[in-house]
Symmetry: C2
DNA sequence: CATGCCAAGTTAATCGATAAACGAAATCGC
DNA sequence: GCGATTTCGTTTATCGATTAACTTGGCATG
């Protein structure tokens, strides 16, 4: 078929030959708003059709330095929250002709560093990062210094000159805690999340503020840390229920942990929804369907993903303003697991 | 810092200058087992270190035609089954130096076609595909004809010259049905999955075989189709329960639908686990945790992902054998939702 | 000593798209 | 009518890594 070329792929030069113009003309004709007559442009279009030409992004990248590719590095793909977030990101980027490299660090910082390095090698134009526990700031700032915009999503580490898009954790935790206080609870626990993780710090802050406002002292025994997994939710609940003066309500770091805690509560014989309250964060699909259904904070992961992607696109478009910290609103969803007034 | 070059990136030529050798030497030194002395190789290694050189895969791709990138195109990222599958794929490919483009078609074939095209443009070396409903065979075979190996995962469409890695749907559906028969059920439904979808066809086949063996005729009213979503699980259960002679047990296309059906059953006042049986496929995490917990077929999505990735790597390595259909074993997990013997 | 051979490196062409710089024809202004 | 400007296109260098083909020096062999 193709004349005497070795590769089976059709290149710009083949289209040019077919259309009887130079490769430069073809290249220009394929870009919007360039100085090529409508007539020639049409001829090129036909030649492209006829030859079955396919754009070679690699060659273009080599020349222009743009890959139209971005990296989305998250910590846990099996968490529906991140699945939704990824879906939001993809929607926006896809609409702007960008391709997304979705990478899963499994919350391991060493793995994350390797992945960052690979992403750079693959020439991503920018990065959306939900940093892993113990993230090495250096490996990220190397990326930033190479001129590629980075946006931290959902979680963040300090001291990085980049945008942040995250839910308003502190405010929501405060509201959630106040709700429990209003229901009569006085011993309220806060379970899980890793020490030093931004989301835990912020949520714990909101929790503390609400307690302080109610004149209740903080009790460290009620706020154990733990990696954010379902199993740990169960584990930490057993832990706080074993202390001398156990809580009557617990706020879990997120829904996945809350669902684990729910399961453990059932095994412990606690009547969640009447004797005992368990609440979470995120409002993943399962939260509405569990028994009892989970009171939680609805965080629209999909729209956080969209917002983060939009922000990244703005940066790629040349927005040079100071790093922004975007806060995405969330709202309380009261369901069964927090019960009515506490039975005493 | 860098002498007089425009781009801030360090290229092979910079390393060569630093090490006092030619770019060819540097390139060769960086590849295993090439004819470069240990001494020179060491010098190059130091120069790489010193200059902060980073491999440019785009330039390499342009020359060699290899991107060390593969596409993983799935239908529903929010289904934990696919999340696990993706995780398995990534593990294997990552270990072999490949990067994964994870793309989510949302089960829309038009979107999938566009995404396939984009993936080609981005020069993926191969593709792992879980085809969307109504997949356009042509768009996939174009990819295959361009010489890139494709492996269909979990689901498949016919008439494509490529490998298939999928669970043994027929055998497992047969076993599941037999289990329900053994428990005394005679009216058994099969809910959902889209008409023509491979997994539905296979599972329905196993179901039919088991019924036939028990001398029970097929009743089309008991096997409604429907897109595989949680909501449809609920919908279809209501549908079959409204017919004249409703079933006493239903097999759902997969766990997500089964969980939807479970919810609907509760609303309908059915006592799942004693009066009524609901079973699924996949054994997603939630299946073990629902109330009642779900009897299902454990399909290890992660290992299917690993197997598929391994198969793809073999093809990329030059394996030219005839297309294979790999069947991954699965096993029945009996939990609460199928009950003991049926109350009559 | 001439010849062949090997080991270690180098030269230079190549992959495919882009865009700066240039050229040529057409149109305009006065 | 003549220089100036606009319009549409082409020529060509470039991005960075790879590798076939070639050079060079060292060593062995007859």
């Amino acid at each position: 078929m193709a004349s005497g070329r070795k590769k089976n792929s059709v290149a710009l030069v083949d289209v040019a030959r077919e259309a009887g113009v130079s490769t430069a003309t073809v290249s220009l004709a394929l870009q919007e708003g360039s100085r090529i007559s409508a007539e020639t442009r049409e001829r090129v279009r036909k030649a492209v059709e006829k030859t079955g030409y396919r754009y070679n992004r690699f060659a273009a990248k080599l020349r222009t330095g743009q890959s139209r590719t971005i990296g989305l590095l998250i910590t846990d793909i099996s968490n529906p929250y991140f699945a939704a977030l990824a879906s939001g990101v993809e929607t926006v980027l896809d609409a702007h002709g960008y391709m997304t490299f979705l990478v899963n660090s499994g919350d391991q910082s060493a793995r994350q560093s390797r992945q960052l390095s690979t992403l750079m090698e693959h020439g991503v134009d920018g990065l959306l990062l939900s940093p892993a526990e113990g993230t090495d700031v250096h490996s990220v700032s190397e990326l930033i210094q190479s001129g590629r915009p980075v946006v931290q999503v959902s979680r963040w580490v300090a001291n990085l000159p980049c945008d942040i898009v995250a839910p308003d954790n502190t405010a929501m935790a405060k509201e959630l805690t106040r709700h429990l206080l209003m229901l009569g609870h006085r011993r309220i626990g806060f379970l899980g999340g890793t020490e030093g993780r931004s989301a835990r710090i912020e949520r714990l802050a909101g929790y503390s503020q609400a307690l302080a406002a109610a004149g209740i002292p903080l009790d460290p025994a009620l706020t154990p840390t733990g990696a954010p997994t379902r199993d740990n939710g169960a584990l930490l609940l057993r832990e706080v229920m074993a202390i001398d003066n156990p809580p009557t309500a617990v706020i879990c770091y997120h829904d996945l942990m809350a669902l684990g805690a729910l399961r453990a509560a059932r095994d412990l014989g606690l009547k969640v929804g009447s004797d005992f309250a368990i609440v979470g964060f995120d409002d993943i699909t399962e939260a509405a369907l569990s028994i009892p259904s989970l009171t939680t904070v609805h965080i629209d992961a999909e729209s956080i993903g969209r917002a983060a992607a939009t922000q990244l696109l703005a940066r790629l478009d040349g927005d040079e303003a100071e790093p922004r910290h975007l806060t995405i609103p969330a709202h309380l969803v009261v369901r069964e697991s927090c019960g009515g007034a506490r039975r005493q």
